[in-house]
Symmetry: C2
């Protein structure tokens, strides 16, 4: 199975439309910024790492026809594009990281002709794609050291192939352990409201031949008490300098339950998800999404009384104290996190 | 608003078809046992207390045309009917309690003509309905003493009008506090997989003028950490002698989260939900339901990959140690539960 969640094909951004899964793979070719913005907002393309690539490719799409005659004018346009892309999903650290990488390339090549800068931006976006493939495999290798034969692993949302280019972070660890012939089993939380666990994680794990069982998010506690879960591994959307980690809503829930049931809880994420400019989780902006994600299943048939108030945060923040370790492309990071995160990423 | 979840009307069992809510009230008139069994199994009629009434009315429907010439033969038929009804939902204590009340009436009147016994069974079923109305109001009154002005209460599933005859257990407490002009707010967990919180609880709370906000089950932890929740009140399907309580899947989850966030966690239930014959939660049979409840939303469009394994327990068990108090029709029961439950119900 060769799946590329996002790629640059025929001068367009080709993505898998993840809202169409698990019914089947449908590709979307995106050639303008607004279509990309909507695709990100509507989670047609999603997952922290993949959003870094989407943001960078989007930057190129947004400025490729720029007629700016001066570098300053060009940068103004690029900033505007970046601001627009950044408004789609405020919590995702990698989105902004992708935008920053692109801006840095432009600034570092200030003296060059603008058409050259444009092509360097595209090259940088493609480098991000390549870097992600490498970084996910590193995460997989480091993380697999923590996985024992016959382990049963619980995960939430989708931190797999579909959240990255072609391998995954939390699921990358699982894929690597599976490749090492460790006989592991996976439980996937369905991940309300948008069911990324049910729709995406079960799909890709099954495609890769993993043993996966689907549960509703509320069943995790019972499963943990039954002694069936050996470890929990999730992804992250943004990790603060002290280790507090924003991830899909329901992750903090699992972290508290893991602590209560004495089950190790790991967060797998690339360096690009760490945001050292933010001290703690309190500084992380949490995206609140359309109430209809909860009151209407996929915006179709209503499932709650008309007009009911809804609280729909897309993410929650897990206290660093609940995290057993971070699995990153720079190695495993253990507590104390403030010190060790600093040490790892200032190398 | 006058709603009767279940009633005996024109020689039929009239129920509100709860699978049609919140779109609208649709009544079903049931005159045979098999239709009732299916209605219970498919949750057209549901909620622990209401199942006691359904079981008793169902017993009458099952034996009303009996041609048994002897009492023994009649009791055999009644036992068969009871066994059949009991097979619909094994965890619900009240279902069996309703069946036992009916059997007891028959046995206590062994000497009477069978047509008289039949009419006494119907009368007993109607008494169960009346008793429930009284008992829910007692639960409401006792429980409301625990509720302060401006309290924000979190609940799961539906332990309201639609789970009882016309008032509720957990929601009965809320209705009573509301009647006392306490300015309370409610958060309702949607309660996957069958969304009783989204479909039923928001519907009836809104009808009664309560301030209700809907969340996905996985959002409870974040809400608790934000300091917005003052107490959690849930119903119960079966409570063991030591206080371990089976209730809708996700309840144990909330209990663990409540403990972690130091929020009181109350279980509201009538005496008929206590099963003193079972020592602890380990003895409670947990119903596992159709995987399609999770993989297909209301058995329609698939939301998970085809053929995925599913774990779908309908209930979980909350350790007695996580429960702050029981709110019953006999008063508030505090720890130590083994002793105090015994004391309360052997009076």
């Amino acid at each position: 199975m060769e799946i590329r969640t996002i790629a640059w094909v025929n001068n367009k951004i080709r993505i898998i439309d993840q809202t169409k899964l698990p019914q089947g793979i449908k590709y979307l070719d995106i050639k303008d910024l607004k279509t990309l913005w909507i695709a990100i907002k509507e989670l047609k393309v999603r997952g922290a790492p993949v959003l870094g690539a989407a943001a960078a490719l989007g930057s190129f799409v947004g400025i490729r026809y720029s007629r700016a005659a001066s570098f300053n004018r060009f940068m103004q346009e690029l900033e505007k594009v970046a601001k627009y892309i950044g408004s789609s999903r405020p919590t995702a650290r990698n989105l902004f990281w992708g935008l920053e990488r692109v801006k840095k390339i432009a600034l570092d090549n200030k003296g060059k002709p603008i058409r050259i800068i444009k092509s360097m931006i595209l090259k940088e976006a493609q480098a991000i794609i390549q870097d992600d493939r490498v970084s996910c495999r590193k995460i997989g290798s480091y993380g697999a050291r923590l996985v024992k034969d016959a382990d049963v692993i619980l995960t939430i949302c989708n931190a797999g192939i579909l959240a990255t280019i072609d391998y995954g972070t939390a699921l990358g660890v699982i894929y690597r352990a599976h490749q090492q012939r460790k006989n592991i089993k996976v439980y996937a939380c369905e991940t309300r409201p948008l069911l990324q666990g049910a729709r995406l994680t079960t799909w890709e794990l099954q495609k890769r031949g993993l043993d996966v069982t689907l549960i509703c998010d509320s069943m995790a506690a019972t499963l943990m008490r039954s002694g069936k879960i050996d470890k929990v591994i999730t992804g992250a959307d943004r990790i603060a300098a002290n280790g507090d980690s924003a991830n899909k809503i329901g992750t903090y829930n699992l972290a508290v339950l893991s602590r209560y049931h004495k089950i190790p809880f790991y967060v797998a994420a690339p360096a690009s998800s760490f945001d050292l400019s933010i001290k703690s989780g309190q500084g992380i902006t949490i995206e609140e999404r359309d109430p209809r994600e909860i009151t209407e299943l996929f915006f179709k048939k209503p499932i709650a009384v008309s007009g009911v108030k809804v609280f729909n945060p897309a993410f929650d923040v897990t206290d660093q104290g609940l995290i057993s370790a971070f699995i990153t492309d720079k190695g495993i990071i253990k507590p104390p996190y403030k010190k060790n995160i600093q040490k790892t990423f200032s190398k």
